[in-house]
């Protein structure tokens, strides 16, 4: 039996080049489906990756209770001190808490691609922020000095928005700020930001309220005691979250929407590709009518015929998925895009085509190939031999 299957399949595949005209329909239909699906999923993947970024289990972020994002939160100066002195916060060599009370404001900067203003985050960070976020590395220039209007800029922000190059001056809030450094931060959301000294930003914006406090914990296990200490303190009304949970929540909505788009559009396209595949395979079977009938007449069973048709359609589907994945990879992997994140500010991220996405592309292709090949294969096996032999 296996010999029969191999023989019929090999014979069928050898004759495939003669049917190339219609075979392209399967290949291209699936290639396009896979390319679209993988690209949109790559967008979701890249966004999630950027927001999860360098989040750590042993870092926590404190916001006002009821606020979903930093921009909406407010924390008074005395409260920031209480939070940083809470049990569980790691101390540096000098005995100061490794923590940063921060303020987040929005600066409208034109996007490079179309010149339309976008909301870019400007974060005022505390004196110990470098110890808190060791992943932040200056790649050009130097750190800003406190009390002067200097900022450092994330490399994604430099790439996406106008006027952020080293040494350039940005005018806002009746003052000019100089870009003195460019930093990278492991590809996380901070790379879309501008950062300056918190007290300078507060005074420029004439504010006296902080928005969040990020702290480094002594260990991931210290999160519960730290949270308990803050939430039971009657002078505080705050919510405490692990950095990992906070950023996961920030990316949830958009990645959900993108996943929905990918599976909805991809699903419909896959259905369309199925119809194309069915058409192709029915044609393939009908051009092989005589050949199949002859095989049956000389004693070949139905199964080898079914297998040969299925192998043909699966093979074409796999070629299609390879082309589609390759196209998504070549054209879109690493593409930089920006969108309005959950915090009403721009997040710059890169489309990321991962191995998992490629596997799901192959999965879709195989499903379409199977569905498109099955009915024609059954028809092929059931051909009435006598009349099929007479077919022209």
């Amino acid at each position: 039996m296996i010999k029969q299957i191999l023989a019929v399949t090999a014979m069928n595949l050898r004759s495939l080049p003669q049917r190339m005209g219609t075979a392209w329909v399967i290949v291209i239909g699936i290639a396009v489906t896979v390319a679209v699906m993988v690209s949109v999923l790559a967008m979701a993947e890249g966004f999630t990756k950027t927001l999860k970024g360098t989040a750590r289990l042993d870092r926590a972020i404190v916001l006002r209770d009821g606020s979903e994002a930093e921009l909406a939160s407010t924390i008074s100066r005395e409260n920031t001190q209480t939070i940083m002195d809470a049990p569980g916060v790691r101390k540096d060599g000098a005995g100061r808490p490794i923590a940063s009370a921060e303020v987040v404001v929005i600066v409208a900067l034109p996007q490079k691609k179309d010149g339309v203003d976008a909301n870019v985050t400007m974060r005022g960070i505390g004196a110990n922020a470098r110890a808190l976020r060791p992943e932040v590395n200056l790649i050009e220039g130097r750190m800003f000095k406190p009390a002067v209007r200097e900022i450092i800029v994330g490399k994604s922000a430099v790439a996406q928005f106008k006027g952020l190059e080293l040494g350039s001056r940005i005018a806002f809030r009746d003052s000019e700020w100089t870009v003195v450094g460019i930093f990278e931060s492991g590809g996380d959301a901070h790379e879309s930001e501008l950062q300056g000294d918190v007290e300078t930003v507060l005074s420029a914006y004439r504010r006296n309220l902080f928005q969040s406090v990020s702290v480094m914990l002594e260990s991931p296990q210290m999160f519960d005691p730290f949270k308990a200490a803050l939430t039971t303190d009657p002078t505080l009304k705050v919510s405490v979250e692990r950095e990992t949970d906070y950023y996961a929540a920030q990316s949830r909505n958009l990645s959900k929407l993108l996943n929905l788009l990918a599976y909805f559009v991809g699903g419909i396209m896959a259905l369309g590709a199925c119809f194309g595949a069915l058409n192709t395979m029915y044609t393939a079977v009908s051009t092989r009518t005589r050949e199949i009938a002859t095989l049956r007449a000389i004693g070949f069973g139905g199964l080898p015929i079914v297998v040969s048709v299925l192998v043909e359609s699966l093979l074409l589907a796999l070629i299609g998925s390879a082309i589609g994945s390759a196209a998504a990879w070549v054209f879109f992997d690493g593409n930089t895009v920006n969108t309005l994140g959950a915090g009403f500010t721009q997040v710059v991220f890169h489309l990321t085509v991962t191995a998992t996405l490629l596997v799901s592309g192959v999965f879709v292709a195989c499903t379409v190939g199977m569905l498109g090949g099955l009915l024609p294969a059954i028809r092929a096996a059931r051909l009435p031999i006598a009349s099929a032999l007479r077919a022209n």
Partner: protein
Amino acid sequence: MKYVPLMWAMLWRKKLRTSLTLLSIVIAFLLFGMLQGINAAFQETIERSNVNRLIVTNRIALTESLPYSYLSQIESIPGVAIVSHESWFGPYYQDPKNLIVAFPVEVNREFRAHPEIVLPKQQIDAMEHTRDGAIVGAGLAKKYGWKIGDHIPLHSTIWVKASDGNSAWDFDVVGIYEEPSNRTREDAMFFNYKYFDEARTFGKGTVGWYVVQLRDPGQSAQIAATIDKLFANSPNETKTQTEKEFQQAFLKQIADISLIVTYILFAVFFALLFAVGSTAMQAVREQVPELAVLKTLGFSDTRVLVLVLLQALVLCVVAALLGLATANFLFPLLRDTLGVVKMPLRVIVEGVVMATILAAATGVIPAWRAKRLVIVEALRS
């Protein structure tokens, strides 16, 4: 017209193949309808925005507030009919997932600056007399089953009340508005600025942005420049745009939706071209003897060409209409995720044009082949 039955018979010569091709085209146009529909619905919101209105925001960013004192200064500029203001409240209902678009406003200003909002006079009066009154959009009221007289507790993600340090704000529904010219905007809520400003802990005496209704839309550029000049070099410089520019810029911040839609649809139609083109070629190949008979009977070459082209056209247009109808039927399901209500009519027109192009592109080679058919050779095959 008398050739319609003939064409129909030729089209359905191979039922299975024609049905499968038809379904592929239906699917493609279903996607076209949905995606282009979303795109067009967003564009429509932009286009329908009032050219008579300016939006004045803080130059630094939309999230920075402006002092309330600007109101009378803007109002005194010649050519300004009425000035209203809105602020971002960012509330949710019951669960943080149920975000609501709500603005604290001054009722007598807000609804005069937005004449497209339909609201009974007595409901506006009721709002003025009810400190914690709220006027909700018909869409929003339907979504949560709210009606006039209902008491609704909301949570603001931004604003805390000074009295109790809580972010819970309560409202009484006193009116339900409609906006027949743009149903997507019936999902918002308005409440009293006074209630809001007196109760909040910080930001007192400021507003989010101003809405300026002009007497003459022709003056919009000039008045916008006047407003920005008025506040230049002040601690709160302004940026004045028409409502249309404002909305366009906002959508562009989210993503270039039309670019993404174009990419996807380009891919879909590229694949469709192959699928339909290949079956059209096959169909004509199989019809060779019949076409030869028709020519023998005296059909001119051109008539045969037209006959084959018309087959492609009928197939594509019928399938496209089926696809677009399905899209139109499914479209309202997107309201909760994307806020779009109805598929714009122009999408159907665009779809039919696309179908015609598709028919021409896939039908022209087979039709040409049919035209060039030599009777003797064709009959011999």
